[in-house]
């Protein structure tokens, strides 16, 4: 069959920019982790912890995460549909608009224009930009799918479509606000309602941005990297429907013990535990796809990133349901345990999959073989060690803190004042900052390796660029 001419320019653009925003996210992450141990590093009014932390989280999720979602979706959609992108012009415009949106977000957040709602901090003009951006992207991908020349839709396309719709619904509903000035608005919902709507958004942003898209990538890039198809198509379909059904019930697990109605909390708790099944459906599917291929964990650095990423996903989806149980939540909610959970997901699962995809893509979109596999392996070990130090130190810190917060004397009084518990966190916050620095070095090596690949890499043999086929 004649090979359609796929558009690689757009994939290149998004790969490059997502890496830049990823570097920003990690750098700011290191800065805020240092501000927590040394408040002299706050430089008001712009560079204080309260303003920088949202820049870190948004750069991580939207700049880096969504950036490489755009890159990989454009790449996968074309190949899975056997047709070029529907509108390259629109895609090109989208790249610039994406960067404009991220820059506008960063600048307004630095200036203190924020709604305070986590992962939705940007004020209403930026919300409008984000909606325009998403609609552009949705149209382009959906039209590509509709115009496809391969009748069957591979599971990755399903996850892509679900993510596109899901994010649209979540974002629009949670954006509802009454503007009071150009960069100030008041939420359309008040108090407890606002909390419940927000965490319905918040948790499903995790589902639709940090779970479904990396799964789409995993299902596509694992078979591509190993050369062996996914173990069970049927299992992936069952997991898909049950995953997107169950996730939407669980938002209130962020609000256990708060004034949100009890039955909403109980439903959230039950569905969170049930979510283990569809999550592990994908994990097991991934592991079984490696049957007879486990030697590739040693030989193939792409597989190493993908399978370790999947392993973190598996751990994340066991830890998450545990945190959703009332008694456990009573203990660890509000402590440093939770950032430990978050960063196993973001630095482990999401970023590992992102790194794997980019290592896979760069040789194919630039036509050069990867500059150095030893460097890629070094990158792997640095981010693995950095992330483990980060998360484990926070889990220990969280348990310690929770224990101290709850400790009571025989006469029913509290054993520790708040500050007595807080000063115990400093050593762990230091450990976290060091873990973050190691991770940052890993990311810098990754960028160097890619830069050298593009600049100095050997022209790749034709097999590499031609290696497109069915997944």
């Amino acid at each position: 069959m004649e090979k359609p001419s796929y558009n690689t320019d757009i994939v290149r653009g998004f790969v490059n920019w997502s890496i830049i925003w990823g570097l920003v996210a990690v750098l700011v992450g290191v800065i805020v982790s240092l501000q927590m141990v040394n408040p002299d590093l706050n430089f008001p009014p712009y560079l204080t912890f309260g303003r920088l932390r949202p820049i870190h989280t948004n750069a991580g999720i939207y700049g880096w995460g969504v950036g490489f979602i755009f890159a990989t979706f454009f790449y996968m959609a074309q190949r899975l549909c056997k047709t070029p992108i529907w509108s390259p012009k629109l895609a090109k415009f989208q790249l610039w608009f994406f960067n404009a949106t991220i820059i506008a977000s960063a600048v307004t957040l630095l200036m203190g224009f924020t709604t305070s709602k986590e992962y939705h901090e940007m004020e209403w003009p930026i919300d409008l930009m984000i909606i325009v951006l998403w609609v552009m992207f949705a149209i382009n991908i959906i039209m590509t799918i509709i115009k496809r020349r391969e009748e069957q839709m591979y599971i990755s396309l399903w996850y892509m479509m679900a993510a596109i719709i899901g994010i649209a619904v979540l974002f629009v509903v949670n954006s509802a606000a009454v503007p009071a000035a150009l960069f100030k608005s008041y939420s359309a919902y008040a108090g407890t309602n606002d909390a419940n709507v927000h965490w319905w958004f918040g948790h499903n942003a995790v589902a639709m941005a940090l779970t479904a898209p990396p799964l789409a990538m995993f299902y596509y890039f694992l078979p591509k990297s190993t050369g062996v198809p996914i173990y069970s198509h049927r299992l992936s379909i069952i997991s898909f429907w049950s995953l997107i059904f169950m996730y939407l019930w669980t938002g209130a697990h962020h609000l256990l013990w708060t004034p949100v109605p009890d039955w909403v909390q109980t439903l959230a708790m039950a569905f969170s535990v049930m979510l283990i099944a569809p999550s592990w459906g994908s994990v097991i599917n991934g592991y079984l796809s490696m049957n007879g291929q486990w030697h590739q964990m040693r030989d193939n650095y792409l597989v190493k990133f993908l399978i370790l990423g999947l392993t973190f996903y598996g751990l994340q989806t066991l830890q998450g349901p545990m945190q959703s149980i009332r008694t456990f939540s009573a203990f660890i909610h509000y402590t440093d345990w939770v950032p430990g959970h978050i960063h196993m997901g973001t630095m482990g699962w999401v970023s590992m999959i992102g790194f794997a995809c980019i290592y896979y893509l760069v040789p194919r979109i630039y036509g050069n073989e990867i500059f150095s596999i030893p460097l890629a392996n070094l990158h792997f070990w640095l981010i693995l060690i950095g992330q483990l130090i980060w998360s484990i130190s926070m889990w220990v810190a969280g348990v310690l803190q929770a224990g101290m917060w709850n400790a009571m004397n025989p006469d029913g009084s509290l054993t520790y004042t708040f500050m007595e518990t807080m000063v115990e966190m400093y050593p762990y916050w230091w450990a976290r900052a060091i873990g973050g620095l190691i991770y940052l070095i890993g990311v810098l090596i990754f960028i160097y390796n890619l830069y050298m690949t593009v600049q100095k890499g050997k022209k790749s043999s034709s097999t590499l660029t031609e290696a497109e086929g069915r997944a």
């Binding site: 408040p39 309260g50 399903w158 919902y189 909390a195 009573a330 917060w405 708040f418 500050m419």
Partner: protein
Amino acid sequence: MWEKKPVLLMVLATCTILAGTIITMILPFTWVNTKADRIEGVVPYTPIEQEGRDIYIREGCNNCHSQTVRPLVAEVLRYGEYSKSGEFVYDRPFLWGSKRTGPDLARVGGKYPDSWHYKHMDSPRSMVPRTNMPDYKWLRDNPLDAEAIQHKMDVLDFPYNNPQIAALQTKNEMDAIVAYMQKLGNDINWRKATQVEIIGELVNPYAGVDHITMEPWESVYRNNCAACHGEHLEGEIGPELVGDNYEEEELFKIIYNGIPDGGMPSFSALGSDKVWQLTNFIKYYNQGEGESH
């Protein structure tokens, strides 16, 4: 079949995600913030309090401070009465937070006098040496924009009067944030309600103890009281403490329950043993050879 029909697949996916959405997100609107959970006494923010709230949001204080007390024993002891839905009906957006790098602030209103907040916001470390809260002294340099605040009150549809707006002219952002801190959690009169009626005779377990033993008690004083009453009891935000002025029992009660209207916090959470230590420390600080300085 939907494996070949993208539009059908998207419609089905939308229905699937709407199920949980309708039940757990839309349905609660029929209960929450209705008459059922209104609380008498909960009133909208005044112009200066609302502005303080907006500054709190702008500075991202919610990244370190939560604003809900959960109904758990240790938490109620530490922060006060647990939070009720009806207390938040004027909160747009909600500010419950998800991380307690610093303490919960849902009940901080009335815990300290204004002067404590000014000093703490200027430089938290001058009062709590090892805190990691940033300095916000610079808020004092920013005057308030009365017109903009009035417009925001109109958008929120909160009641206000002209003197309130006029008063903003002479205030700065620091005044606003302190006003907001003092409003938090104070619409219900929980502080008085939770005061413990101390019944029966109080017996000082340390009566007649040699003053040498006071040394470890000094650190209890330093950690909990010195920020307001001075390193050497000389007084600053709170008055000078002179042991001779009080009976032991009277001192115990003041420390245990605080003086809610006067800005003296309650220290019942320390437990009666530590409160007795403090009582003895203050009562006998300036007496005898056991002094530790």
